[in-house]
Symmetry: C2
Subunit: 566 residues, 2 copies
């Protein structure tokens, strides 16, 4: 607090950094043109007007600041190397220099045994046939420097693209990269501090035309093991460089579930905007804490709720993007506009964050906004996106050995519906479909299911077998058969061996199974816990009303009424 | 968007309003002194310098703005009534005028049948004996106007307080108020829009020396029925006034669970700061949306997670309060400092918000910060606060009807210890200590307990009775008695009526009860879930080893070995 942080660049990243700094009475001094986004929300006369590539302006900024940092990596590094002798600069100018040249960045990563896509440096267009021979089509042609938001990448699909690709990427030094047949793009924001390296959650990024469109936190359908591997790889990649602060690591997830590092940005990043609402601490707070040696308790980097970030990009007119912002206000998005004035096609004008208790709800909320995004950016309305997930992803799985158990299980399903608990109902048998049953149970936890209810009759192995294939709590409902009154099922379900518990409820009592599932989810979800309370209150009121009626009518008349109802 | 909002006052409320406005490219123009907190984060030359009681300055502000609003109600209302003929003013000057005089505010509420504490307007100190005769001691003496943060309230406890009370409250017009023997203070932020009246959740406020210290959202231990009543009453109270925007309604909860309105503030309020992190939309966003006719989807007012707000008040030195801010950064709080320069005793310098998946976790996180708050404000170190939770508050309660059940329950307790799950073990009987049992069960959820394991034999009522007094999941362990082999206990525990589930495990199988508790806690706790997985892997390894040994030795030798062990 009471510190002065000089920032090279005054765009939206600096602006969101300033938001975090304002809350801590930390002064942000920006080097950029007059009225830049960062300067709009930091009112003081010490900002520096000029370019973050101008040595004199950078020197002036350093004189006014306790520490220097960047919000864009395309800065004059030589001056920063001179300045760091007297004023701390984070990340280190040496790291910025390496990262500025994406091919050199890649060489450093390879030297530290960080897996990356294979690359070849190019001297001229003449090298391309050789590259095509080596990599096959398609492959990526990339500018080594000054590349951002897709301006610097070209997908070469055939011989005839060569000239277009070179023309598009201009005079810069280029390199070619083998196409990574990724199933998903992942990203992790990593923080280097004086005490070590920390990571935010693993997120899924969706790019269109090489510009980030959507970020899903956490990455959808990615196991915790792979998420952990991505965090570990991201930390390893960042540890190749020096200097405190936040770094973005973009990765490819390949079909065999291995990971490649795509590229690194030594600053706050679009893929980390979700942290403002999504985590206990944002990437901007984390960056300030890191460069000022303030503490970063690791649990503040956890995700509070599933979150989706949708960029607000400019459209064909100066204010086309405002339609998306306005629609987000009317729905479920938190809108961030960057104060950048007029929009232009593909320019980042703001972003929207949607958070919800489940990813399925967040997806449902963001879906109509994605359609408006598509309309603004393409200028035409788009019909339902094909990869839109439709219904809410289930929290409870209701399994039964046979459809003949459905009448028994139905009362519980009604309770789940009443409580608005997303659920799936499946027929799977421990004896007839043992592989499907085992696979379903084993995958349940990664699908976001929190409790499994299993009903079965007779030998009734289903609940116990499901419990053997999952770490989730499993509730067993003994279903009464034509003989033995359900005692057979009860014993089969409740008398599990030590080590594999099944939460057994009364014979045929699927109502209690659902209420138990609600109590279990309610342990971490106040909304559900309140519904359990209200349900109990409803039952109490009903019971009190019956007693009042009994007092009023007397036993004889009451019994008569009961007989009539039957 | 692209709108200009003039704000009378430029303190922390205006500053947090500006934070929200900045994100929407809405321009905030503040009327206050140079460098006021609001002006620090809104860089433009149009702010007005002066007092929000100065007619000329207010007129100038109106000329620059599309709409006027306030962040403090002690403004010049006559000028606003003149201005509203040409520029919208929210809330309406008429409403502000009524609310400025707290006794008049009360008369209006009474005329709309809103319950309030009984009050008597006073002309002079001579009226006090009559008030004391009517209200008894203690009663409140309050200034009708210009009261805030406790400056304007005096508790009269005895005859000898009369002179002191009058001296403390100064020359202002006063009124006396009957003491409300409240069990809790509640507050609700209410939003009036063009389309109706909406409410944020009901929160609990804790005042010390008439200054807000803590806000708990939701109010702790308050049923959803009472929370709903508080929201309804707050909306009814606000509907007595005109004009769009946000209002705070402070209420008393009385021992008979009825509510009284204490007072209303026609602006963002300290009791609503928690909404910034706690809800999907903050009170500041809601105020902007209301006065600019932007949409407010009601579900964005929901609580995302239980939240606690702790004020950062000034101490005896100019920077004493920074100790609390620094400690919060090192722990789990989001810190908001207001840019108010030097602190003074009791001055609001900032606030901290802690949110967590459960209130018990949030309480555990805020507890050490409350102790620092007390030290800063009182200037002396406080020993362990009496209601401080010890470090490891139990997540699981293991209950048994009799100590004779302990040998059976012990295997489960060993598992909890092995998994490092904090737990408490208690003897309580549904039949011998029914009140203690009921109280323990009812209070468990607020103590942070997440799962209850109850073991019982014979009639075995304990698990079911405990489940009847809590919304937590309850696991029942049937304990085998000297007759009937435990089937009596099993049936008593598992065959609960519809509506009150008990998760029953096998007879005597407390191991599985503990493993089930671990699976339940693991739903929201990856560490525990991993332990469950590792435990299962351990069992699998053991079983595989046994099979390997059997293959090696053959059945005969293996059986011989087993016989020897016995």
């Amino acid at each position: 607090m009471d510190r002065k942080v000089g920032v090279l660049g005054g765009g939206q990243l600096g602006r969101m950094l300033a938001e975090a700094a304002n809350r801590l009475n930390i002064k942000i001094i920006a080097l950029d043109k007059e009225g830049a986004p960062t300067k709009q929300i930091t009112a003081h006369p010490d900002h520096v007007t000029g370019s973050f590539k101008d040595p004199a302006a950078i020197r002036k900024l350093a004189e006014l600041s306790d520490v220097l940092t960047i919000e864009i990596e395309h800065v004059d590094v030589e001056i920063l190397q001179e300045i760091e002798k007297t004023t701390p600069v984070h990340p280190s100018p040496k790291s910025i220099k390496i990262i500025q040249d994406k091919y050199h960045q890649k060489e450093v990563l390879i030297s530290h045994k960080v897996p990356v896509a294979e690359s070849i440096a190019l001297d001229s267009e003449k090298d391309l046939p050789r590259v095509a021979g080596e990599f096959g089509y398609p492959f990526m042609l990339k500018a080594r420097t000054d590349a951002y938001d897709g301006r610097g990448n070209y997908v070469v699909r055939q011989l005839s693209d060569f000239a277009k690709a070179f023309a598009a990427l201009g005079e810069r030094k280029l390199y070619a990269e083998r196409w990574a047949p990724f199933t998903m793009e992942l990203a992790v924001m990593v923080i280097r501090t004086s005490n070590g390296t920390l990571a935010f959650p693993t997120v899924e990024t969706v790019h269109e035309n090489s510009i980030c469109k959507l970020v899903y936190a956490p990455a959808r359908g990615v196991s915790s093991a792979i998420s952990q591997q991505a965090q570990d790889l991201a930390k390893k990649a960042v540890d190749c460089f020096d200097g405190k602060g936040i770094y973005a690591v973009e990765m490819f997830l390949l079909p065999d579930n291995t990971l490649l590092v795509n590229e690194i940005a030594p600053r706050p990043h679009n893929s980390g905007h979700y942290t403002i609402e999504g985590c206990y601490m944002s990437q901007y707070e984390a960056h300030l804490h890191a460069i000022l040696d303030l503490p970063i308790p690791e649990r503040r980097l956890r995700l509070r709720e599933p979150s989706i970030m949708l960029n607000i990009l400019g459209g064909k007119t100066a204010d086309a993007h405002l339609e998306l912002a306005n629609q987000a206000l009317a729905r479920d998005g938190t809108v961030h506009l960057y104060g950048k004035g007029d929009g232009s096609l593909g320019r980042k004008m703001g972003h929207i964050t949607v958070t919800a208790p489940t990813m399925a709800e967040a997806e449902a909320q963001v879906q109509p906004l994605i359609q408006i995004f598509d309309k603004v950016v393409s200028g035409t309305a788009i019909s339902d996106s094909s990869d839109a997930k439709s219904s809410l992803s289930p929290l409870v799985a209701v399994l039964m050995g046979s459809d003949s158990d459905l009448p028994t299980m139905n009362a519980g399903i009604q309770i789940l519906q009443k409580f608005n608990i997303p659920h799936t109902v499946r027929v799977t048998s421990a004896h007839r479909t043992p592989e499907f049953m085992a696979k379903f149970a084993a995958e349940a936890v990664n699908k976001g299911i929190k409790v499994i209810i299993a009903g079965a009759g007779g030998a009734a192995h289903l609940p116990g077998m499901v419990a053997s294939h999952t770490t989730l709590p499993v509730i067993g409902v003994p279903v009464k058969g034509s003989v033995l009154d359900g005692v057979d099922s009860l014993y089969s379900i409740v008398q599990m061996p030590r080590g594999v518990p099944v939460a057994t409820v009364g014979i045929g009592n699927s109502t209690n199974a659902a209420l138990l599932a609600a109590r279990i989810i309610g342990v971490g979800d106040d909304r559900i816990q309140r519904q359990v309370e209200e349900f109990a209150q409803g039952n109490a009121d009903e019971s009190l009303a019956k007693d009042a009626k009994l007092q009023e009518m007397g036993s004889d008349a009451y019994l008569e009424g009961m007989a009539k109802k039957k």
